[in-house]
Structure formats: C-alpha cells, structure tokens
C-alpha cells in the first residue's frame, strides 16, 4: 500500500507543476503588481522605479522569474559572510540594477517552501491570511459534506428499495431540479425567506458581529451555520442519492444477496445489513470530487452568506486584484483536490478487499 501511495504521489507531480505554470501564467497576464503600484507614487522617480524593477527581477527572463517564484531567490543571491551584502550568486546577477553595488541578498523562499509572498492589499504574508481563513472553510465544508451524506445516502437506499414508487420518482425529479438551481440564488431565496421575512435565522456571517475575541464554538452558533450548510449540501444530496440508488440496484443482483434471502433473513436485514453496506463502497470514490466541489462551490456560498472562508477571500482578492492571495488559494485548493483524489483511491482499495493495489 505504501508503494501504491508513493506511486500515486509521484504521478501527481506533473499535475502540480501544471498548476504552478497555469497560476504563474495567470499572474503574468494580470495587470497591476508591486511595480505598477509605484507608478502612481509621485515621490518615486522613473530612475528609481527602474532600479526597483531590476531589483525585484521584473526584467529577468521568464524561466528565472518562474523559478524564483517557485523556489525562492535566497539561494540565487546570498550573503556568505553575514555582512548584509550579497556576495555570491547563482543564475542572478549580483548587481541587478547596474549601479555598481551588489544588491541585498534574496529573501524569498518560494511557494514550494510555503512563501506565497505578501498580499498587495493587506500588506502582510499571504500564508498568514490563508491560515486564518482555513477553519471557517473546513467548518462549512465538513458540515455540508456530513449533511449531504446523512440525507443523500438514505434517500438513495429507500429509492432503490422502493424502485418505481412515488418516492423514487419524486426524489429523481428533485435531484434534477436542484442541479438546475443556481447556488447563489438558492442562498438568496433562503435568506429572503428565513432571514428577511420570517426573521428566524441570521442573514449571513459566521457569528454575531458583537462576539468579542473571535467566534464562539460551533455549537453555540449553529443558527449561522444552518443555511450555508444546506445550500452547499444540495448538490451533494442530489448527487449522492442518485449514486447510492444506482449502487444499491447493482448490489441487489449479487449472489450474496440471493444467499442472504435464501437463508430466510428478513427483507430489512437483507437490504440494510448486506445491501447498503456494500453499496456504500463506491461512494468512497466520490470523496475526491467532493473536496473540489465543496471548495469551488464554497466560493459562491461563502460570498452570499458573508462566510469568512477561503472562497470569499479568493473572490474578494480577485476583485481587489490581490494576485498573490488568489494564486495561493488556487494552488492550495488544487493540491487539496489532487490529494483528495489520491485519498479516495486508497480508501476505495482499503474498504473493498477485491481491489488490489497494483
């Protein structure tokens, strides 16, 4: 199994590099940036701006710029004797701006070592901003995954047991309908009904604005979690119920179900002890896509509900042209997705002994 996991991880490396190239390309195409910001500063002369650009490496060749972004520049231009002046260099010129004096040593560590740069907008390390937002996204993500499984799986089982019944047809229609509903509109309509009209639930946010020192534990503010969780879970409920139904119908044609029936077990026991447990196995492959769906779909849900997570951070950063933040969210989400797919494959093989790691 360790060998299999390792191989899958190695296979993921090209994809990871693809994502870094994609992100970097997007960042290059993006307008703005630290040098552009300085053009509007009247105190900076054109010569100074040119020198700063040279120091920041804007004039270097694209592969060098990409490499510096990926791996940092602290090994490209470094200070061997600790006097604060760079005296050794690799790939980069010691005197980038051509003023006859060596530049200060490189300080960037590169995204591979967790240095995503500084936010243009918040003026602090991107990684700090992201770490702050992760708990909110995970909270919403896990809550909705839980709801999606807890509602979707039983619906699928019952629909398969009562195949062709009113319940089966109704849930099938509802699954298609909910797939056609825009997530943001569903959120708005729920806020309209439960927040604005009935005044039963808050209109958004993770906890009361009056909460001092951050939000209290989840169970003290479930009313805030309820609507965004439902909205984010609808896609999952529709998907899991259809998938579970198909999987159940697959299982009931197996020999061991016939054996269980012929042993004289009650229908309930056959369906739930023998059927449902085995029908759950293929659902493990859904975990990978589920992570992508939760993070991607969360961008909209979080925005509609003012939920302070990664998705809302990314949408805000896109609007503010804060590209270091955007790229960090993209890369982290993509890594989470890749790992999610690998995890679901491993889980699948672990749960189902018929599948071998090969």
């Amino acid at each position: 199994m360790i060998k299999y996991t390792l191989r899958r991880l190695i296979q993921a490396i090209p994809t990871f590099f693809g994502i870094t190239i994609l992100s970097y390309g997007l960042m290059l195409a993006a307008p703005g940036g630290p040098v552009r910001a300085l053009t509007f500063d009247p105190k900076v002369t054109p010569q100074e701006r040119e020198r700063l650009a040279a120091r920041l490496g804007v004039n270097d060749s694209l592969p060098i710029q990409y490499l510096r972004w990926l791996l940092g520049d602290d090994w490209m231009r470094w200070d061997s004797d600790g006097d604060g002046i760079a005296d050794r260099s690799f790939l980069l010129s010691l005197d980038a701006d051509g003023d006859g004096e060596p530049e200060p040593p490189g300080t960037r560590r590169g995204i591979l070592r967790g240095d995503f740069g500084r936010s243009f907008y918040q003026k602090r390390p991107v990684i700090d901003i992201i770490v702050e937002r992760i708990p909110a996204t995970l909270e919403l993500g896990f809550a909705s995954l839980l709801v999606a499984l807890a509602v979707g799986v039983p619906i699928g089982i019952v629909a398969a047991v009562k195949r062709g019944s009113v319940f089966d047809n109704f849930t099938r229609v509802m699954a298609v309908v909910f797939n056609a509903v825009p997530v943001f509109w569903l959120g708005i309509v729920l806020i309209l009904i439960f927040g604005s009209t009935l005044r039963l639930l808050p209109m958004g946010s993770r906890c009361s604005a009056l909460a001092i020192g951050g939000c209290p534990p989840v169970f003290e503010r479930l009313e805030y979690l309820l609507l965004p969780t439902l909205v984010l879970a609808t896609g999952g409920i529709a998907g899991y119920s259809r998938y579970m139904r198909a999987s159940m119908l697959d299982v009931i044609n197996q020999d061991y179900i016939r054996t269980a029936k012929s042993k004289g077990l009650s229908a309930r026991q056959v369906w739930f002890r023998h059927g449902a447990r085995n029908a759950l196995i293929p659902l493990a492959t859904f975990l990978g896509p589920a992570i992508t769906g939760l993070l991607g779909g969360a961008a909209i849900t979080e925005t509609v509900f003012s939920w302070p997570g990664l998705g809302r951070l990314a949408v805000g950063a896109v609007v503010q042209q804060d590209y270091p933040v955007v790229m960090a969210v993209v890369i982290m989400t993509a890594v989470a997705t890749i790992l999610g797919f690998i995890l679901s494959d491993i889980l699948y093989a672990l749960i189902d002994p018929r599948i071998r790691f090969s």
Binding site: I19, L26, W185, T337, F341
Partner: protein
Amino acid sequence: MTAQSQPGRIVNLTGDEERRVGESLTILALRRLRRDRLTMLALGVLALLTLLAVSAPIIENALGVSYSRTNVTQAFLPVGSPGHLLGTDDLGRDHLARLLYAGQVSLGIAFSAGLLSIVIGVSLGIVTGYYGGVIDDFVIWVVTTINSVPSLFLLLIVSAVILQNKELAAIVGSGGGALVIILGLLGWTGTTRLVRGETLSIREREFIISARAIGASPWRIMFSHILPNLVSVVVITLAIDIGTLILVEAALSFLQLGVKPPTPTWGNMLTNSQDFFTKGVHLVIAPGLLIVITVLCLYVIGDGIRDAFDPTAVD
C-alpha cells in the same frame, strides 16, 4: 448513422410479425424522441423562451416600455402595475423587458460558448484518442491540470485577469464576447475526455480497420468515419453543457466578474438583490426562476436524447 445505415424497409420475418430491419439508430432515436412527452415539453418551453428573448425589441415596442430607460419616480413598482406587467427595478426600468434582454444575453453566451467548447473538445478528443502517444499524454496532462482547480475558481480568476488587463481585453473584447471566449476555452476538458474514450474504442472496430486498409487518410478516418459515430454523445454533451454554462455565466455575472451592467443578464440582475428584499421581491425571484426553468429544460433534453440513443433500450 452507424455502419449499417440503410433505409428502414419492412420484411416479413416470422409470419404475421412485421419488423423494421436495417433502420439506423438515428432514425430510431428521433422516433423515440417524438414519443417522449417530457423531452418534447422541455424542447417546447426552451424554444418559447428563446423566441421571447429574441423578439425582445418587438415586445418592448408593443408594450411601450424600455429595458434601459431609467425613471427613478417609478422605481420598485410591483408586479401587475399598469404599463409594467412585471413591475420595475430599482432604477424604474421595466422588469419584463429587462428579463427578455437578459435572456438574449444569457442564452446567447451559453449557446456560443457551448458550441465553441464542443468544437474544441470534440476535435481534441478525436485527435488524441486516435493518435495516442505523446499528444495524448500532453492533452491529458493539460486536462488533469485544469480539472484539479475547481472550475468556478478558475473561471473567476481568468475572467477577472482578462477583463482587468487592457491589452488582453482589447483582443477578446469585453462583456459578452469575452465571456464566450473564456467559457469556451476553459470548458472543453470534460468533452475531450469523453470523446477520447469513445474514439479509443471506435478506432479498434472493423470498419475503421477496413478504412485504413483501403488507404483512407487519418483525417478522413477521424472526421468522416469516427465523428459520425459520436453524434449522439456530442448532442447530449452540448445540451447539458449549455445548461451548466448558463449557471456558470449567471454565477460570474452575479459576482460582477462576467457581463457588467447596464447590459442585463439573469445573473447580474441578481447582484444587488439582497437590497431588494423589502422593496421588490419580484426582482429576486423572476431572474432566478428563469435560470432554473431554462437549465432544467436543457438537462431534461440532454437526458431525453441519451435515452433515445440508448442502443440497449427496448422499443
């Protein structure tokens, strides 16, 4: 359109029992579709919506309203107000006219982007599936890379980058045209995967081998022997993709990263809808409802065509 395309002729097989033989799957599928009431209903509703959207200027003239003329004294008129069937919005513009024009934009973008992505997806899928090797590895690498970023995230960023970059915006334009290009250029990965898989299996079939044996060029094999066998897959994918594209366009425009006001789309009509909760609930409900109906129709049509083309289905 399968290998045995022959006009349906009636032969006497077993006594009184008459059966159609040699009928192509396409003719069979079209016959099944005509009997499928739900799919026909969905087609009808979609056609009606499209017709209404296309004739928006005519309807506007007939009712004596305007989708763009603002009139602050008539803001937030309720549904059924005299002169404004579906009321007016926050700037006093006629809501019905805006919904129709928005339909034009939303449907136009989704259909064009759907066509663009299907053309890219099918061509790439056939070529990679047929040639395999390095081309295949490269395309699959690109597909996996694009797919590992949640698609909405990617679209958000790409459209923001392009619309904010003046040089790029000069190439692709802004507003609807740019969105068509962005959605089309990023939406082909699913189709490519699907078509590649189908091509892989078709290229091993006898009629391809015989085509190769009589010296048909690879392009001829790909586009006049393999492509016709993909028609059903392509049509199903197109219907469902257009539905999804309407949802995506709506989401992007809602977040103000797609089509920008004053051009209306169903998505951007909902951008400020949280401010309308107390003043005009119709402004919140109507655009969303139209999105749901349109997308639902497209999904039902896609499903209907899938069932109609299912070769294992019993008639």
